[in-house]
């Protein structure tokens, strides 16, 4: 169980001289699912990538403002991004199992090297069960991960992310490349996982946001293409009584 809080203050991000996000102030409830919504190019994926400092691995990428994990800035001078990324896991838009690793090793490879061998198998089983993949793969754990279907690969990536027991789980459109059946099983999974983790999910799909999230943040590019936070509230409120005209237009499908 985690009570870790994640918050941003005046957060902005840019690639070289191209600013994509400005002035985002948000905070995320422990054990909740928060959906980041908005049209393409509004900076929501970049925002997610600022939370585990993967944004800065791209040449020329910069961050301003602050991200606070339990009140401490994750961009502070003493913070090691490697340790941070063990606390904040990420699931990507495209399933990205490590191609030369077996199913077992894909789940186990995030564990620290000094982790006892005897307990690895238990962690792998537990994570695969949590990701509802265990029954599908328990007889072929040594097969390469590439033999799995797209939906199974994505669930494997979720198992890989939760095996290291992060406190926060970031999900970047985790179902956008999956069929409806896999999508629904991953959505169910998110609801279960939110009992243990704080989840932040980027999604294009408003029905998905309505189905899985407790809170929702709506982003929109301003006239110059810089993404800004328009509205942040409980999901039910956003979908029934949006506080901003632009949110209402987006939700009712008038644009985007």
């Amino acid at each position: 169980m985690t009570t870790t809080t994640l918050a941003t203050q005046g957060l902005g991000a840019s690639y070289g001289s191209h600013r994509v996000l400005a002035d985002v102030t948000l905070s995320f409830e422990p054990h909740s699912v928060t959906a980041l919504m908005g049209p393409s190019g509004c900076g929501k994926t970049t925002l997610l990538r600022c939370f585990n400092r993967i944004h800065e691995t791209i040449t020329g990428a910069r961050v301003d403002g602050s991200v606070l994990l339990d009140g401490e800035s994750i961009y502070g001078p003493g913070v090691n991004p490697i340790g941070l990324r063990r606390r904040i896991g990420m699931v990507f838009q495209r399933p990205n199992p490590f191609p030369t690793f077996s199913i077992f090793d894909n789940v186990a490879c995030g564990l620290p090297r000094e982790f006892p061998k005897s307990e690895r198998a238990a962690i792998v089983e537990k994570s695969l069960r949590a990701a509802t993949l265990w029954e599908d793969v328990k007889d072929r754990l040594s097969k390469p991960a590439t033999v799995l279907s797209g939906g199974q690969q994505q669930r494997l990536c979720i198992a890989r992310a939760i095996a290291v027991e992060p406190e926060i789980l970031l999900m970047d459109e985790p179902t956008s490349s999956l069929d409806p059946i896999s999508t629904s099983s991953i959505e169910d999974l998110m609801t279960t996982l939110s009992e243990r983790y704080t989840i932040v999910i980027v999604t294009h799909n408003m029905q998905q946001a309505a189905r899985v999230s407790d809170f929702a943040a709506f982003f929109l590019g301003d006239g110059t293409g810089v993404g800004r936070l328009v509205e942040f509230s409980e999901t039910t409120k956003m979908f029934t009584k949006p506080g901003d005209r632009r949110t209402e237009d987006y939700i009712t499908g008038r644009f985007g």
Partner: protein, 280 residues
Amino acid sequence: MNGFRVARYIRSGVGTFLSGLCAGAAALVLLLILGYVAIKGIHAINLPFLTQLPVPVGESGGGVANGIVGSFITVGIATLIATPIGILTGILVALFGRGLIAEGIRFLSDVLSGIPSIAIGLFAYTLFVEPFRHFSALSASFAFALLMLPLIIRTSEEAIRSVPQVVREGALALGMSVYRSTMYVVLPAARPAIVTGLLLGIARITGETAPLLFTAFGSQFWELNPSNPMAELSLQIFTYAIGPYQSWHEQAWAGALLLIFAVFVLNVVARLVLRPGGAR
């Protein structure tokens, strides 16, 4: 409408025919060379040719065993030198590819790949033969390594780039260091393509002769010490081919056939490695 369609079919037909003709011509030339060398060389390839030393002028028989072994040694040492440098440089250029250093390395490697092999040989001569007043297989290996290097750098870079960025980010997001994600995740995924580049690099230098003229120099004897002049198959072909004796000419053809066969095998293996499921 029909006229338009017919014209399109004609254009398509003519295009297909012409490109087929060109492809056929290219393949035909290759087959002619292979066939001619095979016919000229096959009857001189026998056990003594493969297992004996060259004989003095005037005697018949003898073989190129020392040249075969010498070529293996020289190419082997060159591969040992060029492989780690080439792969590590390829990693650097692929992962940090936008900076000035990476651009500079890429440019220099392209220039290096365009330098004629005889000039590389001269360079090796100046560096490793002249100061010691002594020809050596090592100086030849150095020249060969320089010839292989750009090819290995380029293919390693491409191989690593072909691993999707999202896989690399996945490793980083899991809390792996850049070193660990490169060594454990990216490099294994790129390995088949890197091995292929390596084999093509070996194939590229196996037949090289020019840089050997003033580095390995050649030898009539069994020579296994790479700091001495050493026999090389391609050098023996050169010597025999321009010599005045009929038996030498036959041995030159046989040697050429052997070399072509070796390069052919290397290329086939390189292709097999790239197939899905190869080189796991």
